[in-house]
């Protein structure tokens, strides 16, 4: 299930990350994601998941801390870090007035992908995601699922080593969601790293190699599904509450944290 081994280089390494708005959003966060891993970040609303990932993607400057993406210091050399990374937000980042074909040409240009390679990948991606019939229509008339698929194709066109997704399945129908999930799974099998936040616990449960739980801007628990269930199953006096689903585990962990705070 997991590709974890000490020899594996780190895909993402966060140390002491801090970001304050009017209150601390991320509060001394440490996080490690190994290369070739599917990592899911869970947490209640406002826990700091999106803020953390936006800082990793170079969309927000942290107040303190370090971020290394595939060994590159993302704060010292953001351009080099961005070169190996793709960011997908819950609001598809596409242009209404461009067609998917034109959009992919633009994104390939931003990441300086060879034109011939980019074109071949564009045709393959559009075909694969079922967008080929709409390849030359402007995106303004597309449904949410189609828009998200266009954005996903944009993220894959430059074959990033690390893909970061913020709630990628929000508002998708079952068919589109399955397609997106299988695309991500394939990326991981090909050796890529996927880091995503999600509210859908079932997705984390089914797809993630490891799961991190964030609350109040800190990592409060981390591990495989099994490890999280074990951790949440233990009562305070060392007893055993009994078999828990991820939902039980998640709610127990968050409640514990709230009590401690």
């Amino acid at each position: 299930m997991t590709h974890a081994s000490p020899a594996n280089p780190s895909a993402l390494e966060i140390r002491g990350l801090v970001k304050r708005f009017d209150r601390p959003a991320v509060d001394g966060l440490d996080l490690d994601v190994r290369a070739g891993e599917f990592y899911a970040l869970l947490g209640p609303n406002g826990a700091g998941k999106t803020t953390t990932l936006r800082m990793v993607a170079g969309l927000l400057r942290p107040d303190a801390g370090t971020i290394r993406v595939a060994g590159i210091d993302a704060l010292a050399d953001p351009v080099a870090a961005k070169r190996v990374m793709a960011w997908i937000s819950d609001e598809p980042m596409i242009y209404d007035k461009l067609t998917p074909y034109e959009y992919l040409e633009f994104v390939a240009g931003l990441w300086a992908v060879e034109p011939a390679v980019a074109q071949a990948r564009t045709i393959a991606l559009l075909e694969w995601l079922g967008l080929a019939p709409n390849a030359h229509e402007r995106c303004e008339g597309f449904s949410k699922g189609m828009r998200q698929k266009v954005a996903l194709a944009g993220a894959l066109i430059h074959e990033p080593r690390v893909i970061i997704l913020d709630e990628p399945l929000t508002g998708l129908d079952a068919g589109s969601a399955r397609q997106v999930k299988s695309v991500l799974r394939e990326r991981v099998e090909a050796g890529g790293t996927v880091i995503m936040t999600t509210h859908i616990l079932e997705v984390a449960e089914r797809m993630a190699d490891r799961i991190g739980v964030i609350a109040h801007g800190r990592l409060i628990a981390e591990g495989t599904l099994e490890e999280l269930r074990l951790a949440a199953g233990k009562t305070a006096d060392g007893g055993w509450r009994g078999g828990a689903t991820l939902e039980d585990a998640f709610l127990a962990l968050v409640a514990e944290q709230a009590q401690a705070a």
Binding site: L110, H136, E140
Partner: protein, 508 residues
Amino acid sequence: MIGQAGTAVWFAQHEARLVWRDWLSMITAGRRERLRRVAVAIVIFVAFMHAVANWTVGRYADTIVDEPLLVGISASILLSWLLMVSQAMESITRAFYSRSDLDLILASPVAASRVFAVRVATIALGMALMALPLAAPFINVLALRGGWHWLGGYGLILAMGVTATALAVTLTVALFRLIGAKRTRLVAQVVAAVIGAAFVIGLQVAAILSYGTISRAAVLQSDAVMAHAPGLDSLLWWPARAALGEVSPLIGVMAASTLLLAGAIALVAPRFGDYAIAAAGVGAARVAQARRGPGFRKTSPRRALRHKEWVLLRRDPWLVSQTLMQMLYLIPPAVLLWRSFDDGNGAYALLVPVLVMAAGQLAGGLAWLAISGEDAPDLVASAPVPERYIVRAKIEAVIGVIALVFAPLLLVLAVASPWHAAVASGGIVAAAAAATMIQLWFRSQAKRSQFRRRQVSSRFATFTEAFSSIGWAATAAVAAANLWLAVAPGLVALAVVAGARFMAPRAA
């Protein structure tokens, strides 16, 4: 006091609250502590405008009413009224097509016609309020020096806003019925732009053809117009006489305008909901795009960014209508250029400021759209491209379009008078650069489809940008005659730009 839920009064209160908060957040750029700075700026502006008014019209306070005066006032009223119609059409179109809260209202069990009646009335009031910063100082000065009857001007402005809105709503609904919801949006914008521009341009072309000067007043004072003007007691003079403070024309004009708007609303309001629903379907329409060239082109990130800006600018209907208006404004100078090409009577000097002004305005519009209208800021920000490239690509895209528009005119001018062409080029670059920078400082990113919201939030930028363009146009005009004398207006123009920098919200 809250009105009974669901009534027109209740909606009016709701609208008023939204408008007020919108305005407040616009002028304070979302920060309360800026309020004092803004208040100081407003006081300075008001005082300055009163001084200008006192200096220009103060001595006319006790003037005697005759036909040339009535012609002059009527022409000014007609001109400002056409601008109001143009603005009102934009607002009405927006009221139908913006989706912000329409879905909520249309889904509620409240009569949609009531909501729209309130919105149309709000727009009418807004048109009048918009004219106040410019008109009020003149009215106040005249009232102070000539007597209270001059305050009738306020009533006239209200009547103008109301009639302009009545005409705009009728025109827009007529477009809906004639060409359908899909095309109305663009056509209404183009019509609005053309109405706004047509009167000025028509007068200027007439003036140029008859006198060879570019002042719009010339043709109005001509004998031909005077001979055809009706007698002093004609109803046609009522608006002008209302502006002069005569009581019965004022009451007549205000009553007629109110009736007109009420009639327009009563006529079209019952179907407002249908139009809005029809407009809602437009967004979902799919547009097929002709596929160009077989393959991807070799490109660099910078070139890809620039190319994207050009494609998006070309596909923006609002921009197309705006550029069209700018082009229309260039017709009079082009006519002037053509007329004086062979007689060489030194009219080129008049061309220089017109070209510079137009360049500044066009650059401002383009830059605002390119810089603020970024649909996918996160995508561009997460690309492996240094941040300065992103902004630079946008500026390059804007300057490329400006060059494309103005190069032919400058080329013709250069054949006729290289010196004037050189000064005009310098002025165009300065005005375009200043306008682009102002837009940069006031940028507030939002999706292109929400273009109107952005325009409201950057109205201050629009004003500064206009002042800057005027400043550069004046500088170029003086420089065409004497380079050294241009230092003073040049400094003023720079001061406007510096003032914009001072007022701009600091980058977060």
